[in-house]
Amino acid sequence: MEITPDVIIYAQWGAFKVNATLVFTWGVMLLLTGFAGFVTRNLTASVDMNQRQNLLEILVDGLLSQIRDATGHDPERFLPLLGTLFIFIFTSNILSMIPGFQPPTGSLSTTTALALIVFFAVPWYGIREHGLANYLRGYIQPSPLMLPFNVMGEITRTFALAVRLFGNIMSGTMMGAILLVLAPLFLPVVMQLLGLLIGVVQAYIFAVLAGVFIAAGLESHTTAQQETQNAGSVPAKE
């Protein structure tokens, strides 16, 4: 019983191990890039498009509207990051239904990497929006006493993002494996249905939370800017 696909090792050169997480991550990446390249080679602007282009257009439109709902900003800037996060997690969660496929999101290394991307994307967007000084000033809102709590909050929410996705997907596969031993044929199918739902919802939550964090990184500093602009008129909060 493997708790994570990291321990399934296919090949090894010295210290570099090719484990199942790597293999299936690259598999999902190849699938997605291959499909996207295949569709976007002959895009058309006319109405009579093929089904694949229609699928991608629906996907991008839906992503844009969801990101607009989640962040309250113009969604075009966030689409590459959040859309890629969503599609990658969604695909690997859905493909976990295929026997023998180890979902890469069921490994803590993958989810930590994705959460770290979000962790560094927040200051990236924030600093590009407001400049370094204004962004850092957001950490001492509403008062400098809150600085350690703000910093800790950023770290813990990133950790929670990683562990949430890992735990949900890992528990789905573990439940399936355990039930397969105890009660084969019927119960695992029910659990897999639940696992499908959980996988879709978790992908959605990951992308939406990443958007919310980035939007919060943009928002809190706009108030900081306004307060510095009219610092004389606003009484300082005690």
Binding site: I3, V163, R164, G167, N168, S171, Q202, I205, V208
Partner: protein
């Protein structure tokens, strides 16, 4: 062997307690969320789609606390570092 048995007993008992206690809170919370969601759907049937969407998102976030307990229980049972350490000691 004595310490090995102690580690085994401790791990299994702790995993059970962890899963049991860790499921209570999220279960109550999700039940409350579901109750409120259903009553608001009864009041506003037109808003069902929005309510269901946010209810599921919130539920999944509540669910993740139970998942943390589950992860901890799984680590205690199947990937226990102390267990492996004592196994190594016993092997030598």
């Amino acid at each position: 062997m004595d310490s090995l048995a102690l580690v085994a007993i401790g791990s299994v008992v702790a995993a059970g307690i962890c899963m049991g206690l860790g499921a209570i809170g999220p279960a109550i919370g999700e039940g409350m969320a579901l109750a409120r969601g259903l009553s608001s759907m009864a009041q506003q049937p037109d808003e069902t789609n929005t309510i269901v969407k946010f209810m599921f998102v919130g539920m999944a976030m509540v669910e993740s606390t139970a998942i943390y307990s589950f992860v901890l229980a799984m680590i205690l049972l199947f990937a226990n570092p102390f267990w492996n350490y004592f196994l190594e000691k016993a092997g030598q």
